[in-house]
């Protein structure tokens, strides 16, 4: 903090003047200073990173968010925005000397324009609430992360959330057409106008997925999609992962783009079975779920093709469901997998690496080898259609050596993904958790160039600092363009070595 004359309160560590200003802006009941209550905000969905914020505020309007951010900027206090706190990369972990801005009070659906296929929502609205509001108009909001019941649309924008159905329908960035944001300087402005046509630079596209580091979203214009005429879910059971993988390649090779292709291995099936009694076929080494949606006339033909390709790849049991209740029962096994694995192990790490779909077989074999070498179990649940793996590394957190081995194994899995030309994260984001892997995927020049965007939006680096990038860039200097020696060098206070 630059203003060293400001006294810190004994309770929170936040400057008294700042707390007073926040109370003036948001009202006393929406400013949290009690140390115990502050601790409830110490982490997001990834509980291994915990930092208690100095102050928590819950603004109720865009204007309040702008005023809160302006105060932070004026006091040079870092701030972090938080939605529902379901993120899995520590993207909403607070700053110990900063303000956590919680967006959950802003949860109004402001407008549905069914003719234009648009909804205007506040950032605290849950993902599923948008689809529910659109349903009477025969539409839905396509991006559907597994946490859609609780996760907020504002958080989805920050993370560019995916979900099982992004294989066909795309990611959040393909469905967000306008954002009202508060810039890190505290100004309200719009990126995009809801039309999908950009006038000038596509700042909307650059902002979406920037993990809360370029500003705070206060209104969102999303694209709604006509609800499909027909939806069919096929479940195919295999005696090996290889056979299931072959079916995936054959389906894609046939020119079919399913809404989702998901795969689970024996360990994750076992966990799901114990948790939700999903009654998947007995003895399966791999279960494949393929969902098809679209016009009835297309889906019926695709269904026949998918069934025969699944059988040809060696499925020993195939089930198909088209009514919503039966589909939901089958999906329950897949959707419960993360939580269910908690029954198999006291602790686990969820990874989010991506590999080219065609490399899935080799990468899974490599993960199995790594798991054997480390003596640590790995359950595999993944979006097979787009190569997005979610290896669940199971370990006992009471054992320091096992915890470390699990961390090492996790890192080795990401290294494998990078070696196959993939990514360290497909949908969870980099956040605090994976920033140390960024230099393995990108060069120093790549990271420096990305941070030019950061410098344009947030030169003071107050907006969710310390996330995504392992090494922050100093925005004041532009490499290669300094014409005179650094003032500190010129004045003799520093030397160049």
């Amino acid at each position: 903090m630059a203003d060293t004359t400001v006294m810190a309160t004994a309770a929170t560590g936040a400057p008294v003047a700042l707390t007073a200003a926040m109370t003036r802006i948001c009202g006393a009941s929406n400013v949290v200073t009690d140390p115990l209550e502050l601790r409830t905000y110490e982490c997001d969905g990834l509980t291994s990173h915990r930092v208690t914020p100095a102050l928590v505020v819950l603004p109720g309007s865009a204007e309040q968010v702008a005023a809160v951010v302006s105060e932070c900027a004026a006091h040079e206090v870092p701030f972090v925005a938080r939605g529902s706190g379901t993120g899995l990369s520590g993207g909403a972990v607070p700053h110990s000397e900063g303000v956590l801005i919680v967006m959950t009070r802003m949860r109004k659906i402001l407008e549905i324009d069914a003719v234009a296929r648009r909804a205007v929502v506040e950032p605290g609205v849950t993902n599923l609430a948008v689809t529910e509001a659109a349903r009477p108009f025969g539409m839905f909001y396509a991006p559907d992360p597994s946490s859609q019941v609780v996760c907020s649309v504002g958080g989805n924008v920050a993370e560019n959330s995916g979900g099982a159905h992004c294989l066909k329908h795309g990611f959040t960035v393909n469905h967000v057409l306008g954002l009202e944001i508060v810039t890190p300087a505290g100004e309200l402005t719009w990126l995009g106008d809801g039309t999908g046509v950009v006038n000038g630079y596509d700042l909307l596209g650059a902002f979406t997925g920037s993990e809360g580091t370029l500003g705070i979203v206060t209104k969102i214009v999303v694209k709604l999609t006509p609800a499909p005429q027909a939806v069919h879910l096929v479940l195919a059971a295999y005696h090996s992962m290889e056979a299931g993988g072959r079916a995936v390649s054959d389906i894609i090779g046939a020119g079919i783009v399913p809404a989702a292709i998901e795969m689970m291995d024996a360990l994750s099936i076992e966990a799901a079975e114990a948790a939700v009694h999903c009654a998947y076929p007995q003895g399966a080494a791999a279960v494949l779920l393929v969902e098809l949606d679209g016009p009835a006339a297309e889906v019926e033909a695709e269904l026949a093709t998918v069934r025969s390709l699944c059988a040809a790849a060696g499925a020993y049991e195939i089930r198909a469901a088209d009514d919503p209740a039966e589909r939901a029962r089958i999906w329950a096994g897949r959707k419960s997998a993360f939580a269910a694995v908690g029954r198999l192990s006291p602790a686990y790490i969820v990874q989010d690496g991506v590999v080219p779909r065609t490399a899935l077989g080799e990468v899974l074999a490599r993960i199995w080898e790594l798991s054997q070498e480390a003596g640590i179990r790995v359950a595999n649940v993944f979006h097979a259609g787009d190569g997005n793996l979610h290896p669940l590394v199971l370990y006992d957190d009471a054992s320091a050596s096992e915890t470390e081995a699990a961390e090492v194994l996790s890192g080795a899995i990401l290294d494998t993904c990078i070696a196959y030309g993939g990514s360290i994260t497909g949908e969870h984001g980099v956040g605090l958790d994976k920033s140390r892997y960024m230099p393995k995927m990108f060069t120093a020049d790549d990271l420096d160039t990305m941070q030019l965007v950061r410098c344009a939006f947030d030169p003071a680096s107050l907006c969710n600092p310390g996330k995504i990038f392992p090494t922050p860039r100093l925005c004041g200097e532009v490499p290669g363009h300094r014409r005179a020696p650094h003032p500190a060098v010129a004045s003799g206070q520093a030397e160049i070595f």
């Binding site: 003719v115 234009a116 296929r117 648009r118 025969g138 539409m139 993370e159 995916g162 795309g170 960035v173 393909n174 810039t183 402005t189 719009w190 990126l191 106008d193 039309t195 999908g196 046509v197 950009v198 006038n199 000038g200 630079y201 596509d202 700042l203 909307l204 596209g205 979406t208 006509p226 609800a227 005429q229 020119g255 006339a297 297309e298 080219p356 779909r357 065609t358 190569g387 030309g421 993939g422 990514s423 497909g426 980099v430 960024m438 995927m441 990108f442 020049d445 790549d446 990271l447 160039t449 990305m450 030019l452 965007v453 410098c455 344009a456 939006f457 995504i468 925005c475 532009v478 363009h481």
Partner: protein
């Protein structure tokens, strides 16, 4: 001047093996660049931009050159970087539905290669356009309704910054949220942020069949609007909903493209024809705009929320009558984008644009002159000019300042001199 030009030439020649002096054909809006360099790889491209930086040269990237006459001409141009030598399809991973292509590759070459595997980059752009040009100008056509614009299909990009730094973002997997997405920023940036050298796209399977359901409505924009919305919002899943009105306040033709399997498309087209009261054909109507062209005249892009379609059609008719011009209107009505075309000798085009902006001045859309003859450009009122109202201009300026602090990359091509 002569000596500094010689020094620049030596420096550029050391960076790039193919270098020549600019000729009349290289002129952009009458300005002949001093040099035209054609890098053969990203190393040469980087060395070239480093050399240009050290001599403070203004740089304009060029693909096929077909869009250099669009928008505002650069205020300065010393060096044209011709990308046509970098024309390789670097990788086509058919099983992954992904292709990486150098910026100078022509779309017809790339699409031909992809078609051999039954795949495509789902953008409707001229075959002679280059990949880099398509990305930098954000070109797309009718099927934007289903597939979006280049930014939606781009999953990775390699660029050379103004100072010669080579940087990439994204990658070659479709699902990837690691780091900022520079591709979004460079898509549609018209060369003002740096030089695009390579792009990676997600591909789509080529449809097995397609059908067009077409009909013509009398001059009733309300009826047109409700039919367009019905088609675009139908669960029959249209790939494109296009509209064509040859004269203001005249009859309007609407055509809907369906793509899919042979039997599926036949059934869907039948259902849609019943819904719209149209006829089904395997071929598009003669007016179907596979590529958007200005043809030396003025081309205006009007974007809007589809619920405002009738208002937009009526506003164009009213502005045309008030300014004594007779523009044709066509475009992706179902996606909220229409183009208004006027020939070079159309009359008071600037007055027409001002009237249109006045009646469509709300925050949910824009009226942008994407191409216009110099005489029309000069008459467009400021502020606004070609671009009209641009929100977040301050942030755009800040982005430009970070990427190109010397303002040497295609200077002046963007709003407010960016």
């Amino acid at each position: 001047m002569t000596s500094s030009r010689t020094v620049s030439a030596d420096s550029l020649a050391a960076a790039c093996s193919v270098l020549r002096e600019g000729e009349a054909d290289d002129a952009i809006d009458g300005v002949v660049p001093a040099f035209v360099a054609s890098p053969g790889d990203v190393g040469e491209a980087a060395a070239l931009l480093r050399a240009a930086a050290s001599h403070d040269l203004a740089v304009v990237p060029r693909g096929s050159g077909s869009r250099l006459g669009w928008g505002v001409p650069p205020s300065r141009c010393d060096l044209v970087v011709d990308m046509l030598r970098m024309d390789a399809v670097v990788e086509h991973a058919a099983g992954d539905l992904v292709a990486s292509v150098q910026a100078g590759a022509r779309m017809n070459h790339v699409l031909g290669m992809l078609a051999a595997s039954g795949q495509e980059i789902a953008l409707d752009v001229p075959g002679t356009a280059t990949v880099g040009g398509v990305v930098a100008s954000g070109l797309c056509g009718p099927r934007r309704l289903r597939y979006g614009s280049p930014r939606d299909l781009l999953i990775g990009i390699t660029v050379v910054r103004a100072d010669g730094t080579v940087a990439k973002s994204g990658g070659k997997v479709v699902k990837n949220v690691a780091g900022y997405d520079l591709g979004k920023l460079f898509a549609g940036s018209a060369g003002t942020l740096g030089l695009i050298t390579q792009a990676t796209f997600r591909l789509h399977p080529l449809p097995g069949a397609r059908a067009f359901v077409s009909t013509t409505f009398p001059a009733d924009s309300g009826l047109v609007a409700s039919s367009v919305a019905a088609a675009a919002n139908s669960p029959l899943v249209a790939s494109a909903v296009e509209l064509y009105r040859p004269v203001p306040a005249g009859p309007v033709s609407v055509s809907v493209l369906l793509e899919g399997s042979r039997d599926g498309v036949a059934a869907r087209a039948g259902a849609l024809a019943e819904l719209l009261g149209g006829s089904v054909s395997g071929e598009p109507p003669a007016w179907w705009p596979w590529g958007i062209e200005a043809d030396g005249g003025t081309l205006i892009r009007v974007s809007f929320w589809v619920s405002a379609l009738a208002t937009v059609l009526d506003a164009v008719s009213a502005a045309a009558a008030g300014n004594h011009v007779t523009p044709a209107v066509y475009g992706s009505a179902g996606a909220g984008v229409l183009y208004v075309g006027l020939p070079p000798d159309a009359g008071d085009v600037a007055g027409f644009v001002s009237s249109l902006r006045l009646s469509l001045g709300g925050p949910r859309g824009s009226v942008v002159v994407v191409a216009a003859p110099a005489a029309v450009r000069a008459e467009l009122p400021l502020p606004g000019g070609l671009f009209g109202r641009v929100p977040s201009l301050g942030l755009m300026r800040a982005v430009k300042d970070q990427f190109d602090p010397g303002h040497r990359m295609a200077p002046g091509r963007f709003p407010e001199g960016i």
